[in-house]
Symmetry: C2
């Protein structure tokens, strides 16, 4: 996968631009300027201009970019057209919500299967995706060359699940369990803390 | 609520320290140093020292802080002991997962009720919390002086829900719907994009 040397902060804004552009359809043949995007997204003019220049070169003076081309350039940059498969372990409410969430594919990720150690969960299947027993995790990951894993179990079993994922070839983990995981060098970890977002918002209320 | 002038970045790390300290119980009478916290959380020594100094003053040389006191100071700073009630609209899978998520109260937020326009959802009640019909939203928020609202409906109805919340007195909104909301001045908005976290992790895989 070819990549431009794009700064982390810019990369973080690309999905926002993409979402903005996609929700402004029909854009057929339309031009869109960095200034318009900046205004609509409440971002700095210069920042947006620099970001788009990295992805799509300089826009035409006064008119900006061909919207469809800009969307394609951002999609290519984000790797949206190359779907990366992911597995999820822990098919509780949050796990099922993520399994059924339709927004990941727009960014090039597909959760292909969920795993759970509870037979009850496996039988009931609250979701549209397959939920498999835990002993299937390692063979499944190896057969399908899975490198991306999502952990939505409780904090008591998160480390065990993490270790199993790593043994199965997973090299990037998104952890929702409220605990620090120990990972070997070379494995990526993104710790999600939903409570933190809410705590931050609450704190703002009183400032 | 009294507040120290704590920088945003420090504030973002406080819940992490709190979670770390809470999961190290029993701490009764124990001392804990900034260096130990920095090591265990893989953070910079100087950073942790500065953060804790803002919240709890200087620690004792060589030994650090009385752990229980440090926990109390961080809790006070975060306002953990003053529970702020919140409402949630959209009792689908994600909404129900959030309604049942136990991690918010540790940071001083309690989701007191969910709302949904679907009678089917209201009847089935997949969650331990009350799910009320939409027409109850405004009276409920006014009666209970709700200022914090969570939106977990689809993008088609998110703006309508947002407007209803604002009319009902909500001044801080956490939006999970993948769309930009228009809010009046004075209302806080935190846009959650779960796909973004996953997209970022995926991109890292290929860099």
């Amino acid at each position: 996968m070819e990549r431009n040397p794009i700064p982390k902060a810019t990369w973080g804004r690309l999905p926002l631009y993409l979402q903005y552009l996609r929700t402004r359809l029909p854009l057929q043949g339309k031009m869109i300027s960095a200034a318009a995007i900046a205004r609509d997204l409440s971002l700095g003019d210069v920042q947006v201009r620099k970001d788009l220049a990295l992805v799509s070169g300089a826009g035409k003076p006064k008119v900006g970019y061909v919207a469809e081309q800009l969307i394609r350039n951002i999609e290519n940059c984000l790797g949206c057209n190359q779907i990366t498969p992911a597995v999820l372990v822990g098919a509780g409410k949050l796990g099922c919500a993520l399994l059924d969430y339709g927004g990941f594919e727009a960014y090039g990720v597909r959760i292909v299967a969920g795993f759970d150690c509870s037979e009850r969960v496996i039988r009931e299947e609250h979701t549209n995706k397959a939920i498999l027993p835990m002993e299937r995790l390692t063979p499944f990951c190896r057969e399908n060359r899975i490198r991306l894993g999502i952990i939505t179990v409780g904090q008591d079993s998160a480390q065990i699940v993490c270790d199993r994922m790593v043994q199965s070839g997973v090299t990037a983990i998104w952890n929702f369990a409220p605990c620090r995981l120990t990972i070997p060098p070379g494995v990526l970890l993104k710790q999600e803390n939903l409570a933190l977002s809410l705590a931050y918002l609450k704190n703002q209320l009183y400032q």
